[in-house]
Assembly symmetry: C2
Homo-oligomer: 351 residues x 2
């Protein structure tokens, strides 16, 4: 855990935020912005940014609050900045959109130094580079309590290529990208190590063994690669959502909004070996981690049966079941062929 | 002060937020949304909203934090919801844009009841009606500390009608809408009454005498009426900004970004009688309230001399000076013809 924090702790210099003031801080953090997209006409520096999107625009907004969504005792600020962007881009990906711009509102208390804010922005800019989006504006203000990060992302897509939650059809095949449950197990590891550290500060726990699941928690990536790849494969999903609250909850959204039920299979759930092993060590059912753990930010989508051949051998995509009539229910079929009802437990935040 | 709070205190029923849960709360608060604009294609309910804006889009985002931007001991939640929308719409107005949509991110602690959140949304929806904008999405989450409101507004305008800060020209005439300093004096009244109430809770101060300035603080309106009226008058401002941090600070933004200086006149500053009287009572120079008080959300703009005839008798618009070369400086000419340098003191928040 200490290792994760090195970045902040090793800062030998500390510049107080008050030294720069609001405008000085914004200037310092935004002076090196390079606009990447031709759709961005005017970025930071006026009352509003100006963009020109020819197709339909996609708009999404998410907020992360200290003590609810993250714990700074084990979350490096650079990772946090990256994650705050990723969770918004993931919503654009879930509509089959191409992200173009973000705005970032920050609430900062005085315990943050200029160097700490800079670390946060480094993560934000790294994400902007990875997702090819422009930071075009926002608001930086004092916070009486903890750190607040509120981001709005803007994407683009042609009207007939936008994919909603409500348009799955009977017999469509249900697919997920990547693997599930890792972010939830990473959170369990980080919280346990925090308790160990609190009871004995001399302990320097080695979390290398858990690096896969910890990274899933601390630095999730929005699956824009899947959006681009589906396009290359000539597949337009019939419905899509990102997995932020756990697979079960997202299956409910697609099923309810499409007026259907689902049938998914235990032996199809994509769970990484590291996630499985960590779950067993923590006495958590790996299926529970996959179904009800949150923050994997993978994509859950449905495709027509005709498209099945195109993805059946894809390493990053797994078919886990199919849509069926609503009256047949929300079914999870175990390895022993038992039928269990999928329950949308949702995601419990830190508090 | 007690009067202002009646709305919250008189709620005899109290429903805990936990009873509805996140999805239940969002459903309850958004079920009656009526989409007003043809540019809104898909609102609340999917991973992202879908909009179709033909001209350029204007994007702005502002965040209000409890204890920094507002004090709930004297701010009715309905007014707060209205104001949170207004400050964002004001930024769209400042670009000469027409607002179309907003997203609202809320961080709520458990001390808020469903009824309180409902009051906040009533204010948000009242503003949506007044400004003709659609609430298309956002995020509702728990907050470990106080209330957090982060709003993004989206507007529309043709490329050649968008007005920036940086495009004022030498000899352009400087205009402001409405009157200045009122919101700052309203804040002073509310803070004084709070202290009185704290030292003697039996006191029920009558703030009717200050209702004008208190309303300027609690329920500012974005000056979309001015945007529409300038269009009718055939005036395209050469530069524009909204007055959120005080006239002096905004004059600096226009002057600096346009590479010019300004000359403004004390006897031209629009200060309402009520504001003037309250300032005198509080031993505050009314000019200071107008120049350095914040949150009036009036528009500051420049026009060509050719357009002067069109507005010179306008009740709601005041010409206060003109732009001149940068080397002539930032001049405030007093009634005694003294030249004082305008200083951008900026706006000090509650904390």
């Amino acid at each position: 855990m200490k290792k994760e924090n090195n970045q902040q702790e090793n800062n030998t210099s500390r510049t107080e935020l008050g030294k720069l003031g609001e405008f000085g801080l914004i200037d310092a953090m935004t002076k090196d912005i390079k606009i990447q997209n031709k759709e961005t006409k005017l970025g930071v520096g006026d009352d509003a940014a100006v963009i020109d999107i020819k197709e339909h625009s996609l708009i999404t907004s998410d907020m992360l609050l200290e003590g609810i969504h993250f714990d700074l005792s084990y979350t490096p600020l650079t990772h946090l900045g990256y994650k705050a962007v990723s969770v918004n881009i993931s919503d654009i990906a879930a509509m089959n959109g191409i992200p173009k711009q973000i705005t970032v509102n920050l609430g900062l208390s005085n315990r943050f130094s200029v160097e700490a804010v800079n670390a946060l922005y480094q993560g934000i800019y790294a994400a902007c580079d990875d997702y090819n989006v422009d930071l075009i504006g926002g608001d930086t203000t004092s916070s009486a309590a903890g750190l607040v990060i509120s981001i709005t992302a803007i994407g683009e897509q042609a009207e007939d290529k936008i994919v909603k939650r409500s348009t799955a059809k009977e017999s469509d095949i249900i697919c997920v990208s990547g693997d599930l449950g890792g972010a939830f197990m990473g959170l369990n590891v980080l919280q346990r190590e925090k308790e160990v550290f609190k009871s004995n500060p001399d302990m320097q726990p080695d979390i290398d063994k858990y690096s896969y699941v910890v990274e899933r928690q601390l630095k999730p990536k929005a699956r824009m690669d899947v959006v681009y790849e589906l396009k290359e494969l000539g597949i337009l999903p019939t419905s899509m959502i990102d997995i932020s609250d756990g697979l079960a909850s997202e299956l409910f959204h697609i099923a309810t909004q499409s007026g259907l039920g689902v049938q998914i299979y235990e032996d199809k759930l994509p769970i990484a070996t590291k996630t499985y092993e960590t779950a067993v060590e923590f006495n958590i059912d790996p299926n529970t981690a996959a179904l009800n753990g949150g923050e994997d930010y993978e994509l859950l989508f449905t495709i027509t049966q005709d498209d099945y051949e195109k993805i059946k051998n894809h390493m990053e995509l797994t078919t886990i079941g199919f849509m069926h009539p609503k009256k047949k229910g929300m079914n999870f079929i175990t390895k022993n062929n038992q039928v269990i009802e999928v329950k949308a437990q949702g995601w419990q935040h830190l508090q």
